[in-house]
Symmetry: C2
Subunit: 914 residues, 2 copies
Amino acid sequence: MRRKYIYLFGGGKADGRADMKAILGGKGANLAEMTNIGLPVPPGFTISTEMCTYAMTHQGKYPREFKKNVLAALRKIETLTGKRFSDQKNPLLVSVRSGARASMPGMMDTILNLGLNDATINGLIASTRNERFAFDSYRRLVQMYGDVVMGLKPENVNDRDPFEIIIERKKLARGIHHDTELTTDDLRDLVRLFQEEIRARMGIDFPQDPLEQLWGAISAVFRSWMNERAIAYRKLNNIPAEWGTAVNGQAMVFGKMGENSCTGVAFTRNPATGENEFYGEFLMNAQGEDVVAGVRTPLAISRLAEQNPGIHKQLLQVRKKLERHYREMQDIEFTIEQGKLFMLQTRTGKRTGFAALRIAVDMVDERLISPEEAVLRVEPEQLNQLLRPVFDREEKTLAMRDGRIIAKGLNAGPGAATWKVVFNAHAAEEWRRRGERVILVRIETSPEDIKGMDASEGILTARGGMTSHAALVARQMGKVCVAGCSALEIDYRQRLMHVDGKAIQEGDFISIDGTTGEVIIGELKTKPSDVVRILVTKEMSPDSSPVFRTFQKLMQWSDKFRKLRIRTNADQPDQSEVALAFGAEGIGLCRTEHMFFGGDRIDAVREMILAEDESGRRRALAKLLPMQRNDFAEIFRAMGKRPVTVRTLDPPLHEFLPHTEREIEQLAGKIDVSKERVTQRIAQLKEFNPMLGNRGCRLGIVFPEITEMQARAIFEAACQVKKEGIDIHPEVMIPLVGFVKEFKEEAHIVRRVAEEVFSQSGVRVKYVVGTMIELPRAAITAAEIAGAADFFSFGTNDLTQTTLGLSRDDSATFLPQYLEHGIFDQDPFQTLDQRGVGALMNYAVHKGRLTRRDLKIGICGEHGGDPKSIEFCARLHLDYVSCSPYRVPIARLAAAQAALTQRQHTSPKRKPKR
Amino acid sequence: MRRKYIYLFGGGKADGRADMKAILGGKGANLAEMTNIGLPVPPGFTISTEMCTYAMTHQGKYPREFKKNVLAALRKIETLTGKRFSDQKNPLLVSVRSGARASMPGMMDTILNLGLNDATINGLIASTRNERFAFDSYRRLVQMYGDVVMGLKPENVNDRDPFEIIIERKKLARGIHHDTELTTDDLRDLVRLFQEEIRARMGIDFPQDPLEQLWGAISAVFRSWMNERAIAYRKLNNIPAEWGTAVNGQAMVFGKMGENSCTGVAFTRNPATGENEFYGEFLMNAQGEDVVAGVRTPLAISRLAEQNPGIHKQLLQVRKKLERHYREMQDIEFTIEQGKLFMLQTRTGKRTGFAALRIAVDMVDERLISPEEAVLRVEPEQLNQLLRPVFDREEKTLAMRDGRIIAKGLNAGPGAATWKVVFNAHAAEEWRRRGERVILVRIETSPEDIKGMDASEGILTARGGMTSHAALVARQMGKVCVAGCSALEIDYRQRLMHVDGKAIQEGDFISIDGTTGEVIIGELKTKPSDVVRILVTKEMSPDSSPVFRTFQKLMQWSDKFRKLRIRTNADQPDQSEVALAFGAEGIGLCRTEHMFFGGDRIDAVREMILAEDESGRRRALAKLLPMQRNDFAEIFRAMGKRPVTVRTLDPPLHEFLPHTEREIEQLAGKIDVSKERVTQRIAQLKEFNPMLGNRGCRLGIVFPEITEMQARAIFEAACQVKKEGIDIHPEVMIPLVGFVKEFKEEAHIVRRVAEEVFSQSGVRVKYVVGTMIELPRAAITAAEIAGAADFFSFGTNDLTQTTLGLSRDDSATFLPQYLEHGIFDQDPFQTLDQRGVGALMNYAVHKGRLTRRDLKIGICGEHGGDPKSIEFCARLHLDYVSCSPYRVPIARLAAAQAALTQRQHTSPKRKPKR
């Protein structure tokens, strides 16, 4: 049997379905689905993505029967529309659009009005009785075709489009300013001028044969899958090139046929806040691209109710039908042709974190989806938007008083951003590479700007609505965005803008509030978001409660579904409290060295390092003991009965020594040692590769008295807090173990000191002693180490550094190239390298649990807060992940998603340990 | 059935055999064996090592039947000797000696003359008719027993032995100088004074009950297994504590019964040169320990032929019988008691590398052993002695003219050492830790000095013969040694010696020639050894030919047996030639960066690094191209048809930049760049952890033009040399690969350039492109990498650094503790960490060959020249090891040994590739 390459839709039934996105692309599948559920969709056909793959692997050629099949599909459309392709009386016009499996907005090409030529134009005039419209359509076809299919581009990147130049010239000659002022004759003239330009510049003619137009358009759309923009976008979004795009050929409908025609886009709910309201925009007498391009600012959809209540009502019904059917917020495109509604697209709508949360929770209330589905619908990283700081209200009041709020645009991407201004995408990337954070300001954004937008913290545009390119992409990326702020006068060449009489240059600070749309000159202080404030203070304010309530609901569901425990990395009592408010179930990593820096502690630490012998070190350590004990006691009190993992000293000693001449002198004076001795000791401790030097348990083996002091501080604090009636659970963790004997030596000291403290204080505390697994050798010898250690905690930062032989601090010089060349899919310090580091982890888990069935295993590297890495940890059946306090909610959600997606694949073998 | 703990020997038959060393210890097993083959051995019994283990695990207690069984054994000795223990008329005296499975000379305790007391002394006097001898024996027993069993030691480490002080006092009172001048009365007095000293200092009496003496002695010997010296020695020699020691009780025979008695030690062949001559020393009228301690310098064994031809002939027969029986050179101890020969010990004799080689080869000629056995008998490291530089003859002539040859001693350990002097073992360790290399000078050495000897390059003693402690241990350790150099006047307190009127202080340079016994003041130049000279020049001189011929014979056998190919790490044509002379079969690692430093190349390299853009880099690289091409061509010519693996640039670029202000200024001038720019670029390139930074293939991915230039140099050189008619085999190796895509990118450049060069030059050269496996991730993803790479070469230096998270350059601060605590068995940079790094290698070999059955795999880290690591590589079925030129012979031998020992275990699955 021949493979089916062409799928028809129209007249109430379709060959395809919504779940056939892989071969029909998103657009094609949903056009079929909408047709099947009875929505008004202009008839058409979808050429499957497999044809794209075929063409890519056959030098752009198609199978023999391909053209025949396309022609047969065209015949079907003719039958359904009653029009005929190439007909001079009542010609069928078609659009040819791309439609990939994953949405790639604006990345590939589209050609409209195919079928028009010097003969069929008369038929269009006759059937529409609108000569101006007909010539405008023809003009658009020649322009698009010349550009997309024939490849007539500006000669220099900075030049304007050659067709636009011709239009400008025409307007100049005619003394008019707007396209709308062009007469029918002007447009007819433009059609001719465009064709002449093509002939002159390309050496060939614009094809008058509608079929030739069609073949050209199909091939151009397929080719556009491999254009530079599309490739960059796929890289950014991890879309495989092998997927290919589908091509949709569809009967044209026209929103530009007078004042009872329009075109519009809408979301079935508010994509910024998630409110359950029909939310969209339309432009009277316009084609679809006019809306998306943001050239004219459109009207809110509610205005349609006034202008055409019938159509508005019809749209509301479509909205309801789509949401019931898809059980998801939809992003739709429609056209009204002379009072008749046509649906051109539906797809799952992009939304902000606020909206994702709200919609998911609301839909459970509306019984559209289950709590499980709701949990799966919010991207964990989106929660960042709720947790991200907002502008301080008082600061803003002051800014208003000082006249610093200089403009207001659309609140297209919520959040607060206060950074330096750049005016083009390239600059954004450049500044980012230098470590600067920026706000990208553009008149409007286009797909070419994608990488620059990704490199920016916020986006501000002068033109375009809530569904403009800038707004859509910013929401998808979770960037702060203010769109359509028409007060901006931007001069790209001067890298300058004027707003409200003020000049702002590249590098100047501005602040944009994506929640209110305000633009403020200069820097502005931020404060915790409402969600964070309520979590931490536990006070609820009436106005912020809806967001907080939906957040809490989602978190509760997440906690119900997830199997992983979530701990936090904290080494200060206040950090612990924030983490607790965020739902942390314990501390997975308390770095004791951070405590070494505060106040005059650093002096005692330095004295210890500079001591000539053990007794000198012990004298200095004795000064540190009460301070460490006090820190631990406070953390133990804050965490109560939750487990607290304290890591013994990890960094190399030279990190604690002073660096400048003056500091060295001061230190020498303070601890009564010669300056030369300090300098000499600093030189002695200097290491070529400190990452691989004398640190971690190596310190404790060379200077057991340090481990002893730390163990004493932990257990004295533990006994003290236990005496206060709190049933605490300290866990002592030995870092940088590579050999089981290292662990045994250190654990022996810890256990000996514990016994000493217990017998001195008359209190016993239950505790465990475990190890970091952060060296390949530790993973490889996990079976042995598990024989001695009570728990494992993967230190994936160092494990990544050693497994990949890659210093995090030094990778900046080649990381960009590595990402660009696809050597790294992601920065391996952000998302776990599963094939390399992950393989070692998997081995260690397996071998460790073979030795000790109930071995508790967690992760405390940065990856513990990364959703993809959390999913991996869940698959390894770790007991917990530990992450920074602000990532705890994200980890809770990611863990729940991991449990839900893994539910069908695995049966839970073990209950995770705290 | 009860376990047998006690094994008898005597009267021509024994319970034990030579192959029962595990339970009888070396001494006991060989006493049994000698008894069985009819040699005259005083009867006795061996308490098995299992009793030591039993006592260690039972708080020093023995099984119930133990004493009964010892008494029964004692009865047997009484029967065989006709003497009775505790008998007042004809008392049996016994010795109690340790005897472990592996020889631990002098490490454990011995007690002689057990059975003497105030009553049995009369029997001894009566039976020997020698009162003086009897009291001297009694004196010795009390002294040894007081020290070893009762623990009467000097109060301070630097004090003299309390018994020696009493003797000194006695001699002073009597106005005499030598022990031999002490009268019978003096000795009787000493016995009394010794017992009083014991009573006064220890609060208990010396036991008069012979049985109590026996039990005390047995327990003391068992205890001595755990003394500090023994523990240190075991650590140094990797002897497990669980082995325990056996205890030998044996009837005493006396070499101190007048002028027809003597005691001696001998080797069945010359242990320094290996010559087939009976080689030993004896002391008339002396006990065994007098010889070993080196207090009196003994006579050569040939002198015995004059003094007692009968006994000498008897000894020659024993020598012959032992060699025929053991098929190995023996180290024997004997005593002649009033004209009757008794054998007290035989064991495999320690020997120098020269002797090991000579004996092994001679014994094949003598049909005593097979070539396979001969190959297994030479420690690969011992070959170092043949390859090690010797003093330049002309230099020595000059030194002689200048009167710098200040003394001559015994040539106890061949080789040349010219380093700084230290006068005690502790100082030797200290200096070594500071990175200094030293010669340890002592009056005589003792077991306490073991660690200091190990830390020294050479050993020079004032007293002791060829079998003194210093000589024995030095030969075993392969150290240069001059012993018994009586001209030295050493003052430990002043850290000073006077020789030939010259004062030499700690830290001064001296030179010792262990081949001639000469001691030279100051530094002396060395030159290649005879073996090296002959190998390299291919000229054979008649006098050095015996050593060279045996060396060549052993190498030929090794080459016949080994499976591993041996390559060398060389990056200069002259190095390649030396390696070829040493038998290298190819180059396994040619580091291209070493070529970057010569002459004005470094300027071009620096210009390349400082270039502002790619075209600037290309300009600088173009200057390097002809130089690199020339280097490669020379190496290709030197290596001919043997494979040559060239590694592309590996080190981080900052290694090539200047460091001092002045150098920076010079460079800036030379390449016409501002000084600020140079300084800034140096700062930019600085890395926190250069080991894990931008180096290896990362450089080539960021700057593909570097890889391009190097590939061009390689292939242009290859085509040029091929045109000269040499069928060369270049192999290009990409370093620091962790991701298969890295390899593919680099290999793509190499292959593209190769094709370009081939088509330009009209010559094709067969080549392969492979990768280093030096990151854990490379090992983990070996299956993928093998899909793209033609070969693997384990870079075990970096693989060790990353797997263990251990910087070789920074490990000195904790390495000593790690070795001492037994965390490392060996320095992992010297001998492969098989459980960690080795596990990754094993995995990579397995996975790599699953992907590509015929994948060529080698090793080019330092471990490629380490015998133990080579053995491991052979087990992994690697194709080759690559090591520095001077280690090639060692690797050849080690590879042969690996093949021979593995022969029985495995069947060869694959033929190794070149």
